[in-house]
């Protein structure tokens, strides 16, 4: 839909909701378009075209809330959807904490965050790239004899959020990806690994052949993986695995976990949750990044801030609802966190940290979600490499790593500078002093 049409549809829905008795209302209208191609076995296996649209409305009537969404954007359907939201609000119980975020918090001045860069990529070029990417994986090593495919994709989306305070915010973004999953085999056993790149600008993507090559080499590096003995050990999380550790912190400091008292970081504000060399900042205005936005899911202005300052918890992740539940003010995190930057403590990455380890485990991948946010108990499947005297000895698999997140965070020794920018968490390798590794 055209920009003016979207805006007028959104405004019409807000007016309609008010006429039907809503005290407050908020509307999101979005549309997106893109395609992806996948090469496998040296030929193109799938071509997918995407074209999506959606309308959603939330209404508040005497502090009761109702929400409805549809992807049928005909006039009748939009009216019906608005009426549905109102009818749900007439059945749900009132909550004093419900409502839009306060009007003085709205992000009235748009900031251009450079998030919209359509990729001038035709289907033929995309197919060639996917084929070359897979080819690079297959040629990286004779042991790479198969793949789960190489994918090249691009997506462009337009979204508009408007609420009855009169706030209107538009977000136009693009996202491009190249990924490859290689399969290596030796002596009848197989291992796979992947590599990918995602960016808002095509020129920020890693070279497709390098991605394929890396996927292939990584898959080979896991061949011959074995179990290790059950023991306590230092554990080094690769940047890919380290992001998950940070996400456990963000889950535990999210407003919903806090007001439900379902968090291992309950009542931890201004307390040391990590060693004092750890600092995490939230940077919602980084140019061209995945976690960038000038307003949150409620139209609230976002601001750079410090979440963990020299090991001390300084901020929660709150929406207006969870903030009111806690007697606090929203932090502009309706919909989740924005870019999180974990400051490195070292001018080196994974390889430099390995050199400092006497013995220990490098974890490249984690599987299964064995994390209890309520009490911090942590137990996950892992694979990676065993390190002795500062060098990788052999690949490891079929083991678990376990501990309690409260202790794990306190045992962070080093954070590398090998940070990846593929997502909203910008974090390098993390070395943890002492975890239980279960194997044989």
């Amino acid at each position: 839909m055209k920009k003016q049409t979207i805006e007028s549809e959104a405004e019409a829905a807000l007016v309609h909701a008010k006429q039907l008795g809503a005290d407050q209302a908020a509307v999101t209208v979005s549309s997106g378009k893109g395609f992806s191609v996948k090469a496998q076995n040296r030929s193109i296996e799938t071509v997918e075209h995407y074209e999506d649209q959606a309308f959603s409305i939330t209404v508040f009537v005497k502090k009761s809330m109702g929400s409805a969404t549809t992807n049928n954007l005909s006039k009748d359907s939009l009216l019906e959807t608005t009426e549905k939201a109102l009818s749900l609000a007439s059945l749900t119980a009132a909550d004093e904490c419900n409502g839009l975020a306060d009007s003085n918090l709205m992000a009235t001045e748009p900031i251009d965050l450079d998030l919209h860069h359509p990729w001038k990529l035709d289907m033929g070029k995309a197919q060639t790239m996917a084929l070359e990417c897979e080819q690079a994986a297959l040629e990286s090593d004779p042991k790479v004899d198969n793949s789960e495919g190489a994918t090249v994709g691009t997506y462009e989306s337009h979204s508009l959020y408007a609420n009855s305070h009169g706030f209107v915010g538009a977000t136009n973004t693009t996202g491009h990806t190249i990924s490859c999953t290689a399969v290596a085999s030796e002596n009848g056993s197989m291992e796979m690994d992947y590599e990918y790149s995602a960016a808002r600008k095509a020129e920020d993507l890693l070279d497709h052949e390098k991605i394929g090559y890396k996927a292939g080499i990584q898959a080979c590096s896991h061949l011959g993986a074995r179990k290790i003995k059950t023991q306590k050990a230092q554990v080094l999380y690769s940047p890919r695995a380290a992001k998950s550790l940070i996400s456990h912190i963000t889950d535990a400091i999210s407003g919903t976990s806090l007001y439900r008292k379902a968090s291992f970081l309950l009542d931890s504000m201004d307390q040391h949750i990590c060693p004092d060399y750890l600092t995490i900042t939230e940077q919602p205005h980084l140019k061209s990044s995945f976690g960038s936005t000038y307003f949150d899911g409620e139209g609230v202005k976002t601001k750079p801030r410090t979440l963990v300052e020299q090991g001390v918890l300084r901020g929660y992740l709150l929406s207006s609802y969870s903030a009111r539940r806690l007697g606090l003010t929203t932090t502009g995190n309706a919909g989740g966190h924005h870019n999180l930057l974990i400051e490195p403590t070292l001018s080196g990455g994974l390889e430099e940290i390995i050199r400092t380890m006497t013995t220990g485990l490098v974890v490249t991948d984690l599987i299964g979600y064995g994390v209890n946010i309520v009490n911090g108990d942590y137990s996950r499947g892992a694979n990676g490499f065993w390190v002795e005297n500062g060098e990788i000895q052999y690949p490891v698999s079929e083991i678990t790593i376990a501990g309690n997140l409260k202790n794990i965070l306190q045992q962070i020794l080093v954070i590398g500078n090998d940070c990846e920018r593929n997502s909203a968490i910008h974090c390098g390798s993390i070395l943890i002093d002492d975890m239980m590794v279960a194997g044989q």
């Binding site: 959603s56 929400s67 064995g370 137990s379």
Partner: protein
């Protein structure tokens, strides 16, 4: 608002109802379908389909003793797939106008580059399999009673123990109307109801807080949840949380593990199920590739995928390619005898679809997926299996699991577990991840119980970014040398 049972089980109803929802309002008829099909396949596609779908979903959430949140959503679209050899093209339209639909058909077809002129005749086909009532579950109960239902489960949970501090319960209903036109012109329909109720509680004692959860559901209207069932869900969630209050650190290392019946069938799903999906085996990326006819499990193991169980969450009258679902024996007495197939992978592997072609929605590819997957019962009593273990772990209930298809390594996380000492249950232990190697774990199954049970109907399975409802199941089972990921 409850619909009349005599009409909702009539197979002809599915087709006429689907047409009245997906074609008639947009003035689309058989002639339009033929035109779309010839546009889709005009570039040389050998196979393909058109998939019309309307999805309605609602959820009601209780928290702080009140239902304060309710969300309703409607989604509709038409997916076009064209297949030539191993290649497949997908495009869809969410706009039900002829021009948009033909444009999507053409886009999906461009995977092939030949030109051919064909005319297709569309033949409506009635599916004979009716495994669930053809109703909209959202209309099966008035909204006020959905609120009452959630309040009653909250009251049960709080009445069960004074240490219950928080109760969060969610009731959801999903209604899908599907119309599939195959490349042969066959037109088939399905009406799919699905309900689910989940309850999660937090208990607190002496400053320690723990969570417990329970729930159930299936392909029914909301009347499925009777008062006894609600009480049971509440009791299960509370009891599990109270047990966790007492739990000591879980052990770490290899040991004998006894898995309970029902939901622990996540093991069967992860360790075996995914590895036997046709696509991974055609591409030879599964740890089970090339093992057809071979002994892959101990001979007491028989594993089945059965999409024809009445009212179960993973059941379907027809799969998303219009094929009737069936009962497929995957492993018989330890020997691998079948893969789960969709049409594409079956054709490329020289076999037949097993009715396992599923897609999350019109906007995603159809791939081989599980339905209800379980291990058949064996000879042993549950107690006999526990008594046989001198030292080990009894994992009664589980959270989710995950598998690396290629290496065969799988995990699943225990949410309620006990130590076994000298044949008796001992202290409860904290949640821990269990990890194993699919092909070797199956050979380490040493006892299978006679108490086969399916999970209560809450499971989802994710593959290639697509989430679909499934069931898992198994009887009590003893496995040697599984690695338990505790801290002790």
């Amino acid at each position: 608002m409850a619909e009349d049972r005599t009409t909702i089980n009539d197979p002809d109803i599915a087709l006429s109802k689907a047409k009245s929802i997906l074609l008639d309002p947009f003035n689309l008829d058989d002639h339009d379908l033929s035109l779309m099909l010839s546009t889709l396949l005009s570039s040389g596609g050998e196979m393909g389909d058109i998939y019309f779908q309307a999805i309605s979903h609602e959820s009601w959430t209780l928290e702080d003793r009140e239902v304060k949140n309710s969300v309703h959503s409607n989604r509709q679209g038409v997916g076009f797939r064209s297949i030539l050899g191993e290649k497949s093209g997908l495009a869809y339209s969410e706009v039900f106008e002829k021009e948009s639909l033909l444009q999507a058909a053409k886009a999906a077809g461009t995977i092939a580059t030949d030109r051919k002129q064909m005319t297709y005749r569309v033949n409506p086909k009635t599916s004979q399999q009716i495994l669930y009532p053809l109703l909209n579950p959202i209309n099966s109960l008035v909204d006020e009673n959905k609120v009452k239902l959630l309040r009653s489960i909250d009251a049960s949970a709080r009445a069960r123990d004074h240490r219950v501090k928080e109760v969060v319960a969610m009731l959801s209903g999903n209604y899908q109307v599907v119309l599939v036109v195959s490349h042969e012109g066959e037109l088939k329909a399905d009406i799919r109801p699905l309900v689910r109720l989940g309850v999660s509680v937090i208990v607190e004692a002496n400053g320690r807080r723990e969570r417990g959860s329970s729930g159930g559901g299936g392909r029914h209207g909301y009347e499925f949840f009777d008062q006894d069932m609600l009480k049971n869900y509440a009791a299960e969630a509370v009891d599990q949380a109270l047990i966790n209050l007492e739990a000591i650190d879980a052990p770490a290392g290899e040991m004998t593990v006894v898995l309970g019946s029902g939901w622990p069938g996540v093991l069967v799903h992860e360790a075996i199920g995914h590895g036997l999906e046709g696509d991974f085996n055609r591409k030879k990326t599964s740890a089970f590739s090339g093992l057809m006819g071979e002994k892959v499990a101990s001979s007491i193991c028989t594993v089945v995928d059965d999409g024809t169980l009445e009212g179960q969450r993973g059941s379907l009258n027809i799969d998303d390619e219009g094929e009737e679902t069936q009962r497929t024996v995957l492993i018989e007495n330890g020997r691998l005898c079948n893969y789960m197939q969709d049409k594409l992978n079956a054709k490329l592997m020289g076999s037949h679809s097993t009715g396992n072609g599923r897609r999350e929605s019109y906007s995603t590819q159809t791939i081989p997926r599980m339905t209800n997957t379980f291990m058949m019962a064996g000879p042993h009593e549950h107690d006999e299996i526990i008594q046989s273990v001198d030292s080990g772990l009894y994992a009664k209930n589980f959270g989710g699991g995950q598998v690396d298809i290629t290496s065969g390594k799988f995990v699943f996380s225990a949410s309620e577990a006990y130590l076994i000492k000298h044949g008796k249950l001992d202290a409860p232990v904290k949640g821990a991840m269990l990890i194993g190697d699919g092909p070797s774990a199956l050979k380490q199954i040493s006892m299978v119980g006679n108490n086969l049970a399916l999970d209560p109907g809450v499971g989802n399975c994710g593959k290639e970014g697509q989430t679909i409802p499934v069931n898992v199941g198994q009887p009590t089972m003893r496995i040697e040398n599984l690695t338990v990921g505790g801290t002790n």
